[in-house]
Amino acid sequence: MARIGCWWLLVCLSGTVVAQTPAPPTFWNDIRPIFRRHCTVCHSTRNLQEVDVSGGLALDSFEATLKNPKKPVVIPGKSKESLLVQLLVIQDPDRRMPKGSSQPLPKEAIETIARWIDSGAPEGQRPADPIAGVNPSPRPARHLDVVLRTNATPPANLIKLAKPGPIEMVLPVGPLAPVTALRFHPTRPLLAVGQYGRVTVWDLAQAQPLRLLTNVLGAVNDLRFSPDGSLLAAAGGQPSFKGDIRVYRTDSWELVAVLRGHDDSVFSVAFSPDGKRLASASFDKTVRLWNLQTQQCEGTITGHSDFVYAVAFSPDGKWLASASKDRSVKLFDATTGKSLVTFSGMNQDVLALAIHPDGKQLVSAGMEPALIWWSADITGTAAQRAGTTESSFGQRIRNQGGHGGAVQELVFTPDGRLLASASADGTVRLWNGQNGQPLQTINIGSVQYAVALRPDGGQVAAGGFDGLVRIFDTKSNRLLAYLLALPEENGQPRWLVYAPEGYFHASPATLAQVKYRVLLQEVEGQSVSAALLQPDRVRQALAGLNVPPPFAK
């Protein structure tokens, strides 16, 4: 009965085809929107492995739709014989697609699909931009003021105000893109800063950007320099669509590799100690291993059941650790990808992890803000397996509380003496890398996503929601400088760096936009600018030297 019904319907459909088609529908133009509305939440490439969701069929690209590995669902020219159409018109609601819907697809949609197949299933013009149809506006319609507060208090007569007060610099460039990744270069005085759509490489010695890299896919969620400093890996992508890792040479800043394959943005990346491999962790729930020579994916680890937020290589390069929204930390063999152990017991997402450079301890934290130290002494396990010694492998060593909000990133200095953490509670904290005891709490106020330690442990850089990078001295807890980088406008670089004392350095285009305020009143800029625009003072501040306050007599 059902079959007769559906054939009858198809005959009718074919009838209409002849009657009223001008141009045949194409995949990208007509079919993809229908699939997106009704089918591809389940039938997508990212769900291919989850057979109970996708049934092994993806409909989110032309290739996947026509070349289903199991069995073709579309036979060009023959809509009646195409399984795709048959499953849309079948009467039995348990078998009919879309599943879980009491209603079949609208008649017009089925008609269009049948018409597309009957006209040979043409591909049509593939849209350039993945967010179909959106032409990203180069800039939002209006700009909000970004207020940069300083401690500089000019004498009242200089600014012609009755009451003196600290200077504020106002830039109409907001909202700033949050800072989502930070990393110091292992040997040179460079700091790489990741924000949506760009990576800014700052030369801290010169107190100005060295390079602005904009050839990224979208979000930049992690930045790593290779151990020898010759490469920079930037991980990111377009959320919920695809992710990649881009590798740049740090001498020419040339893009040397784009490692594609993740189906969602990549949240974390790590170099192997020999610098030859990369591991990446993505929202697509996988960890992937990449060979930098061949630029190929060597393996996909699917052990996590939810977003993977962080990945790290052990100092000997033999194993990997990853942290996930599935509330676990897992250790994998870096060669085979085999799971070694799962650290569990957390009640919420694990967002961050760092392996101690001695390779024997691992720290994780996340939505539950306590830092958990784990024993990760693999050699111990081997011994235990041999039955010779006791091992504490995989045990919690300590829980170290302190943060009042989710911990977003954890990082050790290469010597393992210092551990830094960035948190949604608006603080960055420094911890003793040996015993985990708290050392310093740096209050910033805005949610902090990223933290980086200078390899010698002398400075810590932090960035987050407010889009500013702050650099602190780790000994004194003192704020040294703020860095602010914007996308270029009309080919003009736009950036500004300033010390809390008020000294600043800025690109000409940005300088032209700066306004000064005291106690919310705009003040005449020339005299202020003359006193504050002092790149050398900013360089000194960035070097950790004390600078005298401006406007001093």
């Binding site: 929107p33 997106r36 509305r37 591809t40 939440v41 997508s44 989110d60 967010i131 179909a132 149809g133 959106v134 990203p136 506006s137 800039r139 939002p140 319609a141 209006r142 909000l144 907001g174 909202p175 700033l176 893109a177 949050p178 989502t180 924000q195 949506y196 759509g197 979208g218 979000a219 969620n221 377009q238 959320p239 919920s240 669509f241 943005s265 949240f267 929202f283 939810d306 977003f307 937020y309 929204k325 977003q408 949604a424 949610v447 996503y449 929601f465 996308p487």
Partner: protein, 840 residues
């Protein structure tokens, strides 16, 4: 039983008096009369046509408009008043015009253009009306507010509903607070979590927050906001503003204005609603587009997502409107008859006047008065849970004085069974149960309740003693109230539900989905109990090992989300200053204050429901703005009466029973058949006897006694202090286990086990035949057969048999091999008849 009497049995069963077998099964399923018109299934209500009579004037709603801010808008509606008295919503047909360039109109929505004074004008067939419009800050830079604009939008789009991102673990890794009641959490999830994965502030249209629900990207929830729609633009504008976060200074919605408040409509008629939110900063905002609408009765009226109401059938119902934690209703009334009804109805008191007013407005006609026998049975069951004796029935029927009903009411209220029956009710409400309270606690509470009822202790005093109780639960009856829970929150829930009829449980974890109660309300109320503690005593008290309820000198309730200490705060009132004395004293004062809008209404509704078979608000213990009473004026009047008579429950009972409405027959008449569930009380609501009433009535009719475990022989079911006393019969008839605080615990719904137990079970048969039982006694005493028949009728149906019934019964007895067997069969049939099983 012999085969022969099985035949008899079947014959009896078909006897017109009873029809028991069939009727038992049928009648349990719903109202006794099954011949009401069914309206289920297709309802393809056509649109009604406008009144033919001339249009006299138009009225635009709202009557004045203030557009404040660049995104302000106002929906307008125009009502036409016609000569025949009808009102018609002309909104969609009227010619609308903006007077002046300060505003623009898109269909029936007014938008600001520039600051100044303007007006909107509507015209229908030569009749016109206009309302002033003031525009302010039309071009001001007003950032989009997360709490005031974005959360309502997410609510309206359904993003945060329980099946989507509002689920416990969210959806697709994205979790929002259920129904948007935790804006700061939602803000963090949307803007900050996963390094701001969901938004690109520097390039808003790149945000998956926009891309997914507009289906530019795959979205499990489908298309929620088409690209370019005003919802999309608003979300985008918020991102362009840098996604400003909610702040503690953000205003709250304090109430909703719904225009019009209610309408009398014909089936098919449409009415567009206007909903305005009044914010705590005084701003009044049109939220017609973002409010959520639900019909409380889909069969009577339906409503679109934009607030267009269509009346579907005759009757009365409400459209529930929700916005940002506040809720309100729009009343849809569609009279049952077109013509005005006229009926003879001599009101006895205000109850009758207010009911009759409603009947007239809806076109209902009350049923006639019930017979004297029905009346007597009714007041005995409702007040005493007991059937009247044959002597009492005969005396009442023989009485010819005009005020005999009134006197009978006064008499029953003085009977000792009054204490038994209402102690049972309070035992239910206070969950007196030895499993929880131990036997000694159970007895102590039971005895206190009985003593209170004997003294007719006013309700306020009764409740005050419960709330402020302390000491040993074995010695102090009311102290057992604090064993109904273990935490301040549980005590707050029980207090609120039993004494106020407010179900506040939801608000423990999230804002009540259909009410204004927030977590602040819940925890503020719980703070009254913050210092109550219990301990097990081994050395203290007479009995030892009892639980002692005491007050600690310190103790606070912490808001689970905010982590802040909550000051004790009654509902709808400012927090109460803590002066170190017992907070419960203050709570009791507030609870029982005459001006407390909830306390008296709650009890008025409950007692109305106990006597009338159905509350003015149903369920009885779910009073809220979105569950309005079917006769609000009457509920208010009953509450006022209760307050004015110092919470004297017997006074309220007397008032209800003396009303003519209470004394109406259960007969369904053509004039009130349309009110299927009898929500307007134009006749008596028939209900099955409760478990205890029925068990006692069975004992009484068969002249036997059931022995309840642990209690002396002769203890009746209505006298049981404890729900843990084993009785299969009571359980199968729906005795409440007293485990949860809810009127719904007592079940009167039909179940097969109960039916079979009564029809086929040994219990009834044994009771009928028992030596020393009624039949045995009657035959021992060698009573004449007609006397036997009459007595059997009087002890079951509480009326003498009709001549026909008598004749038929005597005939059967003569036919039977033994008259006694026939008498047994007669009693069996009577016990399984509607006339016995039901309270009518």
């Amino acid at each position: 039983m012999t085969i022969q009497s099985w035949h008899d049995l079947l014959r009896w069963a078909h006897w017109k008096l009873t029809g028991a077998l069939v009727l038992w099964m049928v009648s349990l399923g719903g109202p006794v009369n099954a011949n009401e018109p069914t309206s289920s299934g297709v309802r393809n209500t056509p649109q009604a046509s406008p009144p033919a009579s001339p249009l006299i004037r138009l009225e635009i709603l709202p009557r004045e408009i203030l557009l404040d801010g660049p995104r302000a808008r106002q929906e307008v509606v125009v009502l036409g008043y016609h000569q025949d008295g009808r009102v018609w919503d002309w909104t969609r047909q009227a010619q609308w015009a903006a007077v002046g360039p300060q505003i623009r109109l898109e269909k029936t929505t007014v938008y600001p253009v520039s600051d100044g004074q303007s007006a909107v004008r509507a015209e229908v067939g030569g009749v016109s009306a206009q309302v002033p419009v003031q525009v302010r800050r039309a071009r001001a830079e007003v950032p989009v507010g997360f709490k005031t604009e974005i959360i309502p939008l997410l609510n309206k789009l359904g993003c945060n509903q329980g099946a989507c991102h509002g689920a416990q673990y969210g959806r697709g890794g994205f979790k929002l607070s259920l129904l948007g009641f935790d804006p700061s959490y939602d803000y963090g999830e949307i803007v900050r979590s996963a390094e701001g994965r969901r938004v690109v502030l520097s390039d808003p249209e790149r945000s998956i927050l926009l891309g997914k629900p507009s289906l530019q990207m795959e979205h499990g929830g489908g298309e929620r906001l088409p690209r370019g729609s005003w919802e999309y633009q608003l979300l985008k504008a918020w991102l362009e503003d840098g996604a400003p976060a909610p702040t503690p200074q953000d205003p709250e919605v304090v109430r909703l204005e719904i225009l019009p408040a209610g309408r009398s409509m014909k089936p098919g008629e449409l009415q567009q609603l206007i909903v305005r939110a009044v914010w705590s900063d005084g701003r009044v905002e049109d939220v017609t587009a973002t409010a959520q609408y639900d019909s409380l009765n889909d069969g009577l009226a339906r409503v679109t997502a934009n607030g267009l109401v269509q009346c579907l059938e005759k009757g009365e119902t409400y459209i529930m409107v929700r916005f940002c934690g506040q809720a309100g209703v729009f009343q849809v009334t569609s009279p049952f008859t077109e013509q005005p009804v006229s009926f003879e109805f001599q009101p006895h008191n205000y109850i009758d006047e207010l009911l009759a007013k409603k009947w007239r407005s809806l076109g209902l006609t009350p049923s006639p008065l019930c017979s004297d026998a029905e009346f007597l049975r009714r007041i005995y069951l409702d007040t005493l849970g007991t059937l009247p004796t044959p002597e009492e029935i005969r005396a009442f029927l023989a009485d010819t004085s005009p005020d005999k009903r009134q006197k009978a009411i006064d008499r029953v209220l003085q009977r000792p069974e009054y204490v038994d029956f209402w102690a049972l009710k309070w035992g239910d409400l206070l969950r007196n149960n030895s499993d929880i309270l131990q036997a000694k606690g159970m007895w102590s509470l039971h005895n206190w309740i009985r003593a209170s009822l004997r003294d007719n202790k006013p309700l306020d005093q009764f409740v005050r003693e419960l709330i402020t109780a302390q000491g040993s639960t074995y010695a102090e009856g009311p102290a057992n109230f604090y064993r109904l829970g273990r935490t301040a929150g549980e005590w707050a829930e029980v207090t609120s539900q039993v004494f106020l009829g407010i179900r506040v449980q939801c608000a423990q974890c999230h804002h009540h989905p259909f009410e204004k109660w927030s977590q602040d309300d819940y925890w503020g109320f719980a703070a009254f109990f913050a210092r109550v503690a219990t301990k097990n005593s081994q050395e203290y008290g007479l009995f030892g090992r009892e639980t002692v309820v005491y007050l600690r000198p310190v103790g606070e309730v912490i808001h689970p989300r905010r982590g802040s200490v909550m000051a004790p705060k009654p509902f709808d009132s400012p927090p109460i200053a803590d002066d170190g004395t017992d907070r419960r004293q203050k709570l009791a004062e507030w609870l029982t204050a005459p001006q407390n809008p909830y306390f008296a209404r709650n009890f008025a509704n409950r007692f109305w429901g106990y006597f009338m078979g159905r509350g003015l608000v149903e369920p009885l213990d779910d009073l809220r703005a979105t569950n309005p009473p079917t006769n609000p004026e009457l509920l208010d009047a009953l509450a006022k009466d209760l307050v004015e008579h110092r919470f004297d429950v017997k006074h309220l009972m007397r008032r209800i029973m003396n009303s003519r409405a209470y004394q109406l027959s259960a007969e369904v008449t053509p004039g009130n058949v349309v009110d299927k569930d009898n929500v307007y009380f134009a006749r008596r609501t028939v209900r099955r006897l409760t478990a205890e009433q029925l068990a006692d009535a069975l004992d009484y009719a068969t002249g036997t006694q059931t022995k309840y475990q642990g209690l002396p022989l002769g203890t009746r079911a209505i006298q049981l202090p404890d729900s843990s006393v084993p009785s299969y019969l009571l359980d199968v008839l729906g005795r409440p286990p007293r485990v949860v605080t809810c009127e719904c615990e007592r079940s009167l719904s039909p179940n097969l086990a109960a039916a079979l137990h009564l029809l086929n079970g040994d219990v009834v048969n044994q009771k009928i035949r028992q030596a020393g039982g009624r039949i045995d006694r009657l035959f021992q005493q060698k009573k004449p057969l007609p006397e036997i028949v009459e007595e059997l009728y009087l002890v079951t149906l509480c009326r003498p048999p009709s001549a026909e019934e008598m004749q038929a019964a005597l005939h059967e007895m003569k036919q039977a091999p033994e008259p006694r067997l026939a008498a047994e069969d007669l009693l069996w049939s009577l016990l399984n008849s509607r006339g016995f099983l039901f309270n009518y």
